[in-house]
Every structure is written in structure tokens, then in C-alpha cells.
């Protein structure tokens, strides 16, 4: 599989998740179990992503400049900062820590 094929498959599946909501009878998915799991799903997946993006280097766990980005982002979000501010500050934190020779 080339990366372009992977991109196109992912795009097709995303469209499928959207169109399904317009064509199936709602009662099929409005069960409480389905709704509860799908409501919690983004929090679980995004947290999994945060962990791997911060601590994983291939299959090893490492502590480097990315942890600094995570901490700075957490402080800013706690203080109510907006998305772009948080993202730019995360980049700055990681870059400055590397410049200082840490991570």
C-alpha cells in the first residue's frame, strides 16, 4: 500500500461514517451502549495519540523536548488559551528546549 492509497482509503471511510448517518434508520444506533461508547471514543483515541506523540520513539519510551511542549500546552489550556496559541507555544517550547540542548 502506498501512502496515497492509504490517504484515499481513509478519506473513503471517513465519508462512509458521515453518509451512514443520513441513510440508516436512527433506531439502529441510538442505543445507550452505542452512544456512550462513541461519545467516549474521541477522548480515548486522542489521549492515546498524546501519549504516543509525546513519549514514543518507534517502540521505545523516551523523555525529550516534546514533554516540555505537553506541559506548556497543558498550562495554557488550563488558563483558557485558544487552539492556535497552544499549538504555536507547543512548537516554541520544543524548539527552545532543543536549542538549549535538552532532548
Amino acid at each position: 500500500m502506498t501512502l496515497t492509497v492509504a490517504v484515499l482509503i481513509a478519506c473513503a471511510l471517513a465519508f462512509l461514517t458521515k453518509i451512514v448517518g443520513y441513510v440508516i434508520p436512527p433506531r439502529l444506533v441510538e442505543g445507550e451502549r452505542t452512544m456512550r461508547v462513541s461519545t467516549l471514543l474521541p477522548a480515548a483515541l486522542l489521549t492515546g495519540l498524546i501519549i504516543t506523540q509525546t513519549f514514543a520513539d518507534g517502540q521505545s519510551l523516551v523523555i525529550d523536548a516534546r514533554v516540555g511542549a505537553l506541559v506548556v500546552a497543558a498550562i495554557l489550556l488550563w488558563r483558557g488559551a485558544g487552539f492556535i496559541t497552544v499549538v504555536v507555544a507547543g512548537a516554541l517550547a520544543a524548539a527552545l528546549l532543543r536549542l538549549a540542548g535538552l532532548g
Binding site: T4, L13, L40, L41, P42, T52, A95
Partner: protein, 255 residues
């Protein structure tokens, strides 16, 4: 307004108010496309692949997840990237259960092309603006205009970010890997209001941490999803029904 609602027409002022809301939401959230474009080329996708994600996938959380996983695990992690992006898009389908109530024409004939266009534009912002309007005609205008506005600006800014990112070169120099971490934290932050969501996130973090050394890159994220299954089923009562999620409350800060 009551008169307007009964005839299916909106007053001029009301229509303008909905349009103003739709386009300001579209411009504001579309701007975040810069960060996606830059992170995507930093993760190793070319400009075409990056642009394809914004135009065809068109759901921000899934796009960030896809490039994040491919960025760390390369092509070998593509199946995990596809699975994660798809699972993150499920909520769009759940929004559709609500938006279809005002989008489907009253005569019941929802043209297939129109339905497909509506599906492609069904994201946090379009659903939130549409569902926030009290009258169906305003809901329709809000949904379509927000969806189109976000689509245009998100794609335009993705291109800007991808071009800028490809000039930068090695992503680590400018801390773009730190930007990705920060972006994911910003995405999950608003979803951690309930104790249950926080428990789920904690469980997901532990699952991802312990599995990283043993499975290929990308797979720990899929394992982390089991936390949602566990905590979701734990408190559920069998057979009960629940309403679809609310895009205004459960949405991401990006499209």
C-alpha cells in the same frame, strides 16, 4: 419570526444574522488549516496527499490523527492511521442523525447528490450552527453556509500551511513535533469535562504507555480506544436509548 417560520421563509434580518454567524465560524475555524498543513508535510505527506485529506476526508481531528500516526510509524502504521481516523469520524455520522431532520426536504425526496454533499459537509461546526437555529429554514442556511465556509477556508489554509511547512524542512528544528502534541492536547481538553471522560482518558493513557514497547507504532492508539469501550459499557443500561451527541458541546476546536 413566527410568521416566517410557518411559511418556511426567513425575514431579511434573520437570514443575514444566520449568514454572519455561519461565515464567521467558517473563517475562524478554517484558519486552523495552517497548522494541519504544516504538520502534515512535516509528517512526510506531500502537498497533494495533504490537500486530499482536507478536501476529501474533511474532518480535522481525523486528519491530525492520520498524519500524526503516519509521521511516527511511517507507511507500516498506515492501517492503524486509517482505523484511528475512521473511528474519530464516527461522531460526524451521529450528528447526521440530527441534521437530517432539517436537511431532508419535506416531500421526502432527498436528492442523492445533495445527500452526499450534506454528508461531506457534516462536521462539528456545520452541525452545531445548524442545530442551534430554532427554525428549520435557518437551520438549513446555517448548516450549508457554515459547511461551505469551513470547507473553503480549511482547504485554502491547508495549502498555505503545507507550502510553508515544506520550506521549513526538518520538522524537529522548529518544534513541529511539539506542535502536534499541543494540538492533540487542545483537541482532547474540551472533552474531559465529565468524570467519566477523565477516567476514560486516564485508562487510555495507561493502555497506550504499556503497549508502546510491544506493538508497532500506531497500534497503541487503537488499544487505547478499548478504554472507551470499557467505561462506555460499564455505566450503560441494556436496551435504553440515548440521543446523538451535541456538536456544540462535544465538538473539536478544529473542523
Amino acid at each position: 419570526m413566527s410568521e416566517g417560520a410557518s411559511t418556511g421563509e426567513l425575514t431579511h434580518e434573520r437570514r443575514r444574522a444566520v449568514l454572519r454567524q455561519s461565515w464567521s465560524v467558517g473563517i475562524a475555524t478554517g484558519l486552523y488549516g495552517v497548522s494541519f498543513g504544516a504538520l502534515s508535510v512535516a509528517a512526510g505527506l506531500d502537498i497533494w496527499q495533504t490537500q486530499a485529506l482536507s478536501a476529501l476526508m474533511f474532518t480535522g481531528g481525523s486528519q491530525f490523527a492520520f498524519v500524526g500516526i503516519v509521521g511516527t510509524g511511517g507507511l507500516a502504521a498506515a492501517p492503524a492511521a486509517i482505523a484511528t481516523a475512521t473511528m474519530l469520524s464516527i461522531r460526524n455520522g451521529l450528528y447526521a442523525l440530527s441534521t437530517r431532520r432539517f436537511l431532508a426536504p419535506e416531500d421526502g425526496r432527498f436528492h442523492p447528490l445533495r445527500k452526499a454533499a450534506a454528508a461531506q459537509l457534516t462536521i462539528d461546526e456545520s452541525s452545531a450552527v445548524g442545530l442551534a437555529q430554532p427554525e428549520p429554514p435557518a437551520s438549513r442556511i446555517g448548516f450549508w453556509h457554515t459547511g461551505i465556509a469551513v470547507f473553503l477556508f480549511w482547504n485554502l489554509m491547508t495549502l498555505v500551511g503545507a507550502l510553508a511547512g515544506s520550506v521549513i524542512g526538518d520538522p524537529k528544528t522548529f518544534g513541529l513535533d511539539g506542535a502536534a502534541v499541543a494540538a492533540f492536547l487542545a483537541l482532547v481538553w474540551s472533552r474531559l469535562k465529565s468524570a467519566e471522560a477523565r477516567l476514560t482518558a486516564l485508562g487510555a493513557a495507561v493502555l497506550a504507555l504499556v503497549t508502546v514497547p510491544f506493538v508497532p507504532a500506531g497500534v497503541p492508539v487503537l488499544v487505547a480506544a478499548l478504554a472507551a469501550v470499557f467505561f462506555g459499557l460499564r455505566g450503560a443500561t441494556a436496551g435504553a436509548t440515548a440521543p446523538p451527541p451535541d456538536p456544540a458541546k462535544d465538538g473539536d476546536p478544529v473542523p
